[in-house]
Subunit: 370 residues, 2 copies
């Protein structure tokens, strides 16, 4: 059952510069309506006018799907020939909101394609990012959303624990990533993961955004595994780093520093403090261990229907944390040519402090080498 | 080894209205450079100027990945604080192409987010779709690309044949979709599928874009299964419809009509004819069988690094087919409340005719009911 998320939007819209929101397929549309579409070549637009009146412009083919979920929604449709689309879109705007002149969009989803059609239909309208307005709602997860995220975390943790029992020297990064994906699907993850798992071993683990390769893991490697599951459109995003056999002593040192930084970041998190405090709390530990220059990214990012969303956890961010925020805490140290460590949890801000939704062990797991 | 795709672009760019192409993460960037990035909140831009000079604007964090693949590429980078991004992007444009005034973008990828930064850096420049220019290259698959697509088809076919041996009444649509995904991964599909499999049984099969549900399949159902694999970034996209036990006689009739329409569409395909001819060839068969109004979508769409790309196969499309085009042929009949049939193949236009890359049986497969 889709909760009513248009009503809470009405006062925000009224107090904004916008007289019309236009959302294309993505998290905003899903959040407000429960409708899930892929971004394709055919424009699919949700319109929300002042007062909360809504309508959709979409391919005729998709109308029955929309009306199946939202029986009363006004639908303006068009056929297969792209030459007819601008005319159909013009007619829809003419009928629904001919005087709209300040349009808000999701800046990370709205494309040149749709912007062109919108400009064709409403040539005098100004289009601006409505991210702040939409994030005001989405940044505060309600109990139902948190329950879905707990499930996404549980699926990810279960899949990881199953996968590491099958890892052995000689297995490729890609094969480990595939097994992890398979285990998430078997445990009930949505098919659309937040991102394909990263499995990066040995020197490759020193690249924070490495892509799994065909290279086999071997004794002495650290393996950074960064993965997440999806449950009813909500994501988890975790990282653990495991050892293959005995490591170079410095790699144990950096593991310990990252573990302490993760703990410090999670402990610092609470309502009312700037997001940047969480970053600084962990970064301080890594700097004190002498590895400050090798922690090359921010401490974390918000998480929900998107793999990266507000609040972003970087030193300069003075945005205050509030109950219902969910974000990653993911310090790392990356020694070029040698290896890297990252330990990532998903943290919920509560009324009185914070709770890590992920609770799986953070101690170093060593895969035995025969 | 990434082929040189900048050199063939140079004369096209010279003859275009553009003096600069700007691509964000997506198929265009992957095609031209081999670089794969996810679309995230941090702008990542490939610039291609007249004469073929290239550069990237990207997060500092990603620089080593880019230089690992393209050692000589000019990189302009920025840090974690979004407040610094516009300045860094302005400096990059100022250094690389201060006089650019006609910018081409991929309209299905370029977002309001990046457009805003571009406009901030080059306020007088005009931004237009460069889709026609880029599609001139991408629409003609070379032998190496076709080889990757054959592999994507082989993975998809193998996974389907394995999956159907495990289907039995009572299994849910979602469970079948998961098994199919798992089998594609095991057979070597990339983790990022072109789209999550559609498995739609019974009345749900009458919705061409159904999403798999928790409802169990049962005797008398048709199951439409629409899925594709990915291999080194290239996609397959197939559909087969299977029966569970004995069907209502009309469902056999529509199966036969769709099968004949698929055959007619594939047979019509050859170089030099309008794309619309392929649509008409199949649509005629379905109309003659009395089901014209229930074939509610176009005959197909191009396929490659995107699940939908040029050439689009709809009646009004007068674009001439050329060797190297790859597209789907996917007629369907959808009887609301009753069930649907779709049979989809991936067809390559050759010098002398056409070849279906997918060769798996199209005859109706019946899952036995105890």
């Amino acid at each position: 059952m889709q909760p009513d998320r248009i009503t809470p939007l009405i006062p925000l819209l009224k107090n904004s510069v916008f007289d019309l929101l236009i959302l294309n397929p993505g998290p905003g549309m899903l959040y407000l309506t429960g409708l899930h579409f892929h971004l394709m070549e055919r424009p699919t637009l949700l319109l929300v006018a002042l007062g909360g009146k809504t309508a959709m412009i979409l391919p005729e083919l998709e109308k029955s799907k929309v009306l199946g979920q939202l029986p009363g929604l006004a639908c303006y449709t068009y056929g297969d020939n792209p030459a007819s689309w601008q005319g159909a879109i013009n007619d829809a705007f003419q009928h629904f909101c001919p005087k709209a002149n300040a349009i808000g969009v999701e800046s990370m989803r709205m494309r040149h394609l749709e912007l062109n059609y919108i400009q064709g239909a409403l040539p005098l309208a100004i289009v601006q990012s409505a991210d702040l307005l939409l994030n005001t709602l989405r940044i505060r997860k309600d109990a139902a959303e948190v329950a879905l995220m707990r499930q996404a975390v549980a699926i990810a943790e279960g899949a990881f624990l199953k996968t590491i029992t099958s890892i052995q020297p000689g297995m490729t990064e890609r094969a480990i990533a595939s097994e992890l994906t398979i285990n998430m699907l078997r445990l009930g993850s949505d098919a659309e993961l937040p991102f394909p798992p990263i499995v990066a071993a040995g020197p490759n683990s020193a690249d924070p955004h490495a892509v799994p390769t065909e290279s086999p893991i071997q004794a002495g490697d650290l393996i950074v595994i960064d993965w997440g599951a999806a449950y009813q459109g909500y994501f988890s995003d975790l990282t653990r780093t495991v050892a293959v056999g005995k490591l170079d002593p410095e790699l144990y040192t950096i593991y310990e520093a990252v573990l302490n930084a993760n703990e410090a970041g999670r402990s610092a998190a609470k309502p009312g403090i700037p997001a940047g405090d969480v970053d600084r709390a962990g970064r301080k530990i890594i700097a004190a261990a002498g590895y400050g220059q090798f922690f090359t990214h921010r401490m974390g990012h918000g998480l929900g229907m998107e793999a990266h969303e507000e609040p972003y956890i970087y030193g300069e961010n003075e945005q205050l944390l509030i109950p219902g925020n969910v974000f990653t805490v993911e310090p790392g140290i990356y020694l070029p040519g040698k290896g890297g460590v990252r330990i990532e949890d998903n943290v919920l801000i509560t009324e009185s402090g914070a709770e890590s939704l992920s609770t799986m062990t953070r101690e170093l797991i060593t895969i035995p080498c025969p």
